[in-house]
């Protein structure tokens, strides 16, 4: 206990020392170890404060000091920026000369204990009682209990009381801690009360990613799909509106839909979703012209109504499965023809993990494998099995971003047109037009892409192919660049392995979903 009090006193002394350093009219740079201007800096660190709590720009500026010549003015500016971002802290610069003639830089950061701190008028009252409620005794260490008792019998120190609350939150990460004070048993005395409330554990299942966009494609024209979430952390309703959307398949559809999702059915491992949609189709002339040449492909339809109930189960926060059925009624184009049912059992396994290697470097890996099986046993007129595997890896380092994507799929049987694969839009095989390379889609597909982005400018290379099992496969390659500002984007793609080198432009607005799509 005594040691803890001594430590606490020591920290306060450090704070005062730092405050004095910061308040000195001269610069904050520590001149004692005479590190001359221009000495090459080997490393720059922040001590006494979690660097992740600074803005990314400031973190990058500090890290970028490594390898540059030491400039006292620059270091003072960075210390001032730390103080500007964290007004309750002071920052001082310490430079250390290394034996090799290079310098190490430390930004020493401490909480202010000077007159700029909040004055709480109750700090003059004596704490007669300090309690923590909402936590079983078994969750409390003896040190925490002792230090809580140590707050009693002294004048209230609001800063110390807040720091103790922060410590409780660190040592009891499953709880949210609040603090308040009450009048004590006699005038001039107060009770210090900490109240713990169990945090709701983070959900394991993820909502379906949103894909809102308005896109103009120089070969395909305008398309829109907008979905909006309404709900909370557990339950979400998502209205869907589509106008001439052609981003997903060879269909160009307009219509509405509604999806309901819950990420918790008694347990955070179990969730469910239910989606209804009605879409009216406008078939492109290229698609209608190609279909007679592919008699194995079922006829186009006038509209499609789909109901998809799904159950989801999470094995871990990263891995989940979903299973259910997709029931679609396809209204025939020709009035003399009956509508068809395309009913499929659907199942997928999903992996999604994001992790930080350092404060500046983030990785994210997403992968899924899905099977859709249309079966007579589900009263389906179309029998088929569709497999689709896809994976994305994303690497973020400050303003540098790299994303690699791969997917492959195959279909057997007679799938409806909306199940057939298509590449060549504003997201895949950019530079190619899907209605030119596979106007009726294909039952085989592979695609891979790598994209590098620095702030709002991107470069990409796409490779992929869509074909039918009984036809020859042609691999297509494209490259290009893009500009991105918030939800707005402009992408120019060039098909490479073709004699007809024409640029394809795509622009519009895209609100990224929670997946790692750009």
């Amino acid at each position: 206990m005594g040691a803890l009090l001594a430590f606490s006193e020591g920290m306060r002394t450090l704070g005062l020392l730092l405050t004095l350093l910061a308040a000195t009219p001269q610069a904050a740079t520590d001149q004692k170890p005479a590190v001359p201007e221009g000495t090459v800096i080997t490393s720059a660190q922040v001590t006494g404060f979690d660097i992740d709590r600074l803005s990314p720009g400031l973190r990058e500026a500090i890290r970028n000091l490594a390898g540059t010549p030491l400039k006292k003015e620059q270091l003072d500016e960075l210390a001032a920026r730390i103080e500007a971002e964290r007004p309750r802290y002071v920052a001082a610069v310490r430079t250390v000369m290394e034996p090799g003639g290079e310098a190490r830089v430390f930004f020493v950061v401490g909480r202010q204990e000077d007159s700029t701190r909040d004055e709480n008028v109750n700090d003059r009252y004596i704490v007669e009682q300090a309690d923590l409620t909402g936590v079983p005794d078994s969750d409390l260490t003896q040190a925490l209990r002792d230090d809580l008792k140590g707050l009693v019998g002294k004048r209230l120190d609001s800063g110390e009381a807040d720091r103790f609350r922060e410590r409780l939150e660190r040592e009891l990460p499953r709880y949210e801690i609040s603090r308040r004070i009450q009048r004590g048993s006699e005038v001039g005395r107060i009770k210090l009360l900490y109240e713990a409330r169990k945090k709701e554990p983070p959900p394991w299942l993820r909502f379906e990613p949103l894909h809102s966009n308005t896109v103009y494609h120089s070969d395909q024209g305008w398309g829109n799909i907008w979905d909006f979430n309404i709900g909370d952390r557990t339950i979400r309703f998502t209205p869907i509106f589509a106008i001439a959307n052609a981003e997903d398949s060879v269909e160009e559809y307009s219509g509405v839909g509604l999806r309901f999702e819950t990420r918790k059915l008694g347990t955070r491992r179990l969730g469910a979703s239910f989606e209804w949609s009605w879409f009216d189709q406008d078939w492109r002339s290229q698609t209608l012209a190609a279909l007679p040449l592919k008699p194995e492909v079922p006829l186009p339809y006038d509209s499609r109504t789909t109901i998809t109930p799904l159950l989801k189960f999470a094995f871990t926060p990263d891995v989940s499965i979903a299973a259910g059925v997709s029931i679609s009624e396809l209204d025939a184009l020709a009035p003399v023809t009956d509508s068809q049912m395309a009913n499929a059992a659907v199942a997928s396994v999903d992996f999604d993990r994001q992790w930080k290697a350092t404060s500046d470097i983030t990785h994210r890996a997403v992968a899924s494998f899905a099977v859709r099986a249309g079966s007579r046993s589900l009263e389906s007129d179309l029998a088929y099995t569709r497999y689709l595997g896809q994976g994305t890896y994303r690497f973020d380092f400050g303003r540098h971003h790299v994303q690699a994507t791969g997917m492959a799929g195959g279909i057997t049987g007679h799938p409806p047109l909306f199940e057939r694969f298509a590449l060549g839009d504003s997201l895949t095989l950019r530079g190619w037009d899907k209605y030119e390379i596979s106007p009726a889609g294909g039952d085989r597909m592979f695609y891979s892409s790598v994209e590098y982005r620095y702030t709002g400018v991107s470069l990409f290379l796409d490779i992929g192919s869509v074909w039918d099992a009984n036809t020859e496969r042609q691999v297509r390659v494209s490259t290009g660049f893009g500009f991105h500002a918030g939800p707005a984007f402009l992408v120019v793609g060039f098909p490479l392995n073709t004699d007809n080198l024409t640029a394809v432009l795509a622009l519009g607005l895209r609100i990224p979903g929670v997946g790692p799509r750009w």
Partner: protein
């Protein structure tokens, strides 16, 4: 000595008006009946915690324009549990403070500290009318947002398209004018 001449003050929030006068070489703002300590911050104060509030007074050449002069200060407010009165201090190297205040008086004291030097106004207020924009923002270091999915809402889209700054959501403001100051007597 400057005297104030008030012409048609128009507050853009109902039932809240601003007036200005000059004391010495400073333009002072009065916002009678205007309350910025209400709701959760008052609950926190009554729980014995202090609340920081940032107040700003901006002098504008016309509504919605960039300010010609501005003053911005941060105040720490606390509530004495035994005396049931509020105390305020400015958060700066040489703090000013006031105590034993009722809530309205504490708010008025804060507003009173926002004096704009008249010489910073140039011709505004004499040859040209001026408008006053009064802003306040409760500063809460504990306030955190749940990152889960919150970026992808309709609201986020509207924010992105309207170029609204993130901090603006917690800033409240009233604007009034035009005001004119008389020529020096």
């Amino acid at each position: 000595m400057w005297l104030a001449l008030l012409t048609c003050p128009v507050a853009q929030l109902s039932a809240q008006t601003l007036t200005v006068d000059t004391v010495g070489d400073s333009l002072k703002i009065h916002a009678p009946g205007f309350s910025f300590l209400k709701g959760d911050p008052v609950v926190r104060l009554k729980d014995g915690r202090s609340v920081r509030v940032e107040l700003a007074a901006l002098v504008l050449p016309s509504p919605g324009k960039s300010p010609a002069a501005a003053i911005r200060r941060i105040f720490a407010v606390s509530y004495d549990l035994w005396e049931e009165r509020f105390a305020v201090n400015t958060v700066e190297k040489r703090p000013q403070s006031a105590s034993h205040l009722a809530l309205a008086a504490a708010e008025a004291w804060c507003v009173d500290q926002l004096a704009v030097p008249v010489k910073a106004l140039g011709s505004l207020g004499r040859d040209l009318p001026l408008w006053i924009r009064f802003e306040y923002r409760i500063l809460d270091e504990d306030g955190t947002t749940d990152p889960s999915d919150s970026r992808y809402t309709l609201g986020a889209l509207i924010d992105a398209l309207s170029r609204r700054r993130k901090t603006d959501s917690s800033t409240h403001a009233i604007e009034a004018g035009p005001f004119r100051l008389p020529t020096r007597q």
